[in-house]
Amino acid sequence: MIRVAILRVENLSKAFGGLYAVNNVSFHIDQGEILSIIGPNGAGKSTLFNLITRIYDVTSGKITFQGKDITNMAPYRLASMGLSRTYQNIELFEGLTTLENVMAGGYIKGKIGFSESLFGIRNRFEEKRLRELAESRIEMVGLQQYMHAEAVDLPYGRKRMVEIARALMTSPSILLLDEPAAGLNSQESKQLGEFLLRLRNEGTTILFIEHDMETVMEISDRIVVMNYGEKLAEGTPVEIKNNPDVIRAYLGAEVD
């Protein structure tokens, strides 16, 4: 099977003042892989995500996505390129229902310009199309009953899934998830893991940050371990589990 690197991070560094939150990190993820990034709190995982998704500017290094250099690209352009993400702090849109939140994810699937939409031309057809797309995504994550509820009022685990459904609206080639299992009980985490496996089998590459070791070990093809902003280790779940440096960094954490 031909392994094509869909995302490549080379010597990536990010400094805040004098402090390096991410220091010379390099790795790549192949198309169709599930890669997880783990590490103690403060290891720089979210910062790494924010660099890849262009929320932060890099201090040095290079990011390549589908062969294109995205190191300095404006963040809003990533969605149409096929990169989508969710957030650790769940950034759902207040005042919007679940359906509306997910429909908002379909922005790049729409074509109507600002002036056109003022005059209402073709609005209805596009809205119908977007709504149907959103409804199918919501059904995919099993949240039909919450379709017209205020998204921010949903239980925590459900909010997560709404955010994922919303991120999937852009039909991404790669989905980045920041601690998707946080706040979920073990059954919900299991369902999430199965969901992500299904996604991958349908062709979506998955990169995620996680602390829930069970999920990480269960579904990851490869794992990257970070500590103090640097890449500590990289390998398959078995390799990582037995890596003495990793065990030392995680002293006390559950790595069975």
Binding site: P75, Y76, A79, S84, F93, G95, Y107, L118, T170
Partner: protein, 334 residues
Amino acid sequence: MDKINKKLLLGVSVVVALLPLFVHSSYYYQILINIGSLTLVALGLGLLLGFAGQISFAQASFMGIGAYTTAIATVTWHWPPVVALVASAVLTGVIAFLIGLPVLRFKEHVLALVTMGFSYMVFVVLMQQSEITGGPGGFPGIPAFSIGGLSLKGDVANYYLVWAFAIISILLVFNLLASRNGRALETLRSSEIAAKSLGVNTFLLKLKVFVFAAVIAGIGGSLYAFQTSYIAPSSFEVHYAITLLTVVVVGGLRSVWGSLVGAIVITFFEEGLTNLLPLIVPGSAGEYRLIIYGILLVLVLLFMPKGLAPFLSQWSRRITQQVGRRRLNTADKG
């Protein structure tokens, strides 16, 4: 646009169309024209503020730019009114674009300050360039609006003119909100970062709304000039910008009808202050205006921050529910 709002818009249009049958005094026409004008200019601000979350004190200045462009175009250059109206809209849009480019990158307090600053800058120009603008004394002699040979002079004509634009603008805004762009707008207020990761060019969107709001304000200013035939810089400075913000906040930020509701409340409030207060407290005139205005602002913001429109819709929903319930009861007994 959903059914309820469609019906409401139709209802409002009918009321607006038929009102002249019952209104005969110039004084009341002036009030109605003021409400229409305020609705038009505040509408853009409501979109900018309530949906895009951008605090702007610049709306009054855009209205002023529109008014003065019309004045200069019709009086100094003898352009036909229709061309002057279009020119006002275009010039206001261009200036808004140029100002928005650097300014919309700023957040909250700084944006408020910079738009206030812009407002003063326009005021200074209007006052200083007296050769062109007439300076502090104002600009008199603006002709009435006319299309071709048909002159729209007088209360009824101006009334219909203003309200036609107001109602059309409300329709445009409803259309916008029912599209992917409207949805993107709503996301700007709660999470700009998430909007960006979903592909929304948030800066460009803010800019477009800013320009749109400015253009309607410019048109509002132009119509104001045609209607009053005399304009002065003092009508378009920071105090009017604060009035517009009050209209939007009192009416309801996240409601398109907010600008209409707010316009009605504030206009009646102003009329009440000017005309009723001297009856209750003899001898008083403008002195109490500031205090009462300030108290109104503080009270509404502290106790009804969502404004009146959502409150009204909740209230009317409760009434229709009650009516429905009563029908059920009588059905049972029957």
